[in-house]
Amino acid sequence: MDHNYFLMMSYGMTALAIGAELVLLRIGRSRALKHIEEERDLETQD
């Protein structure tokens, strides 16, 4: 049985999971900052 396949699947998925978490973290922060700006713009219009 080729052990490289099991190592690749393990390390590959770990890298993917960490990468996905970091991307989601960045998206979450951008969204939060956007909400703040939108609310401020709405208040300025009022």
């Binding site: 960490i18 978490e21 979450g28 922060r29």
Partner: protein
């Protein structure tokens, strides 16, 4: 030192912003060192061959999955007892990372189990209780986000986290309490049966995951603070 000063979201936001890059840098450096030790320095296992190298992420991820849950439940307890906003935010910030580590522990365990046991999955006590831990994390996140009022979500999720604590000793002692396919612990306070190079690689990866988890939790907590405090003057002055 007045610790109440650091429980203020505005103080914590700035402090976390300064600390997070250092934790990520430590995670990266120790992760590279751990990978080098694990793949170059550590010898091939006499019985399992090369596939044992999954241990360098499987074991640290499994440890982190339990430790993160414990810390999350502690923050939940603090938020319930003292009604502190920041503790509830930290509990929320830790949950996705804990879930990620639990998933990684289960996934890498499956890809270690197949060549060594002949199966990706068995309904073994250790594996099943770790799967329950993943469901607890998912339940925590779902419950925390299912309320219109975030503070009510915090309280309900904290309660679930505290109830779920009972699963941690079950995971840890499952290999002793039941006749499991999963092996017992190779590392304990009494010593280790591992080669020193293997142990160092595992400890370096453990440190790397730990630093990563702290860094991510700090960044995520900053985002939660931004969302919850968005109507305050200090947050508006940031953008």
């Amino acid at each position: 030192m007045n610790f109440y000063y650091f429980s203020s979201p505005s103080t914590f936001y700035r402090l976390a912003g300064k600390l997070a890059p250092w934790f990520f840098a430590l995670a990266l450096v120790s992760g590279i060192a751990g990978m080098y030790s694990g793949f170059v320095v550590a010898p091939t296992d006499a019985q399992q061959g090369e596939v044992y190298r999954v241990i360098f992420i499987h074991v640290p991820a499994a440890w982190m999955s339990m430790f993160t849950y414990f810390v999350m439940a502690c923050y939940g307890a603090v938020s319930l007892t003292f009604n502190t906003r920041l503790a509830a935010m930290m509990a929320r910030a830790l949950a996705p990372t804990g879930a990620m580590f639990t998933f990684v522990a289960l996934w890498t365990g499956a890809f270690w189990g197949r060549p060594t046991w002949g199966a990706y999955w068995v309904w073994d006590a250790r594996l099943t209780s770790e799967l329950v831990l993943l469901f607890l994390y998912i339940g925590f996140m779902a419950l925390a986000n299912s309320f219109e009022d975030a503070r009510r979500g915090d309280r309900a999720a904290a309660l679930l986290a505290l109830i779920g604590l009972v699963n941690l000793p079950i995971i840890y002692f499952s290999v002793q309490w039941w006749n499991t396919l999963h092996q017992g612990s190779s590392v304990s306070f009494k010593g280790t049966s591992m080669h020193v190079a293997m142990l160092w690689a595992m400890l370096l990866m453990m440190f790397s995951f730990w630093m990563y988890a702290i860094g991510v939790a700090l960044v995520r907590c900053r985002t939660i603070i931004l969302e919850r405090e968005r109507r305050t003057q200090w947050v508006r002055s940031l953008t």
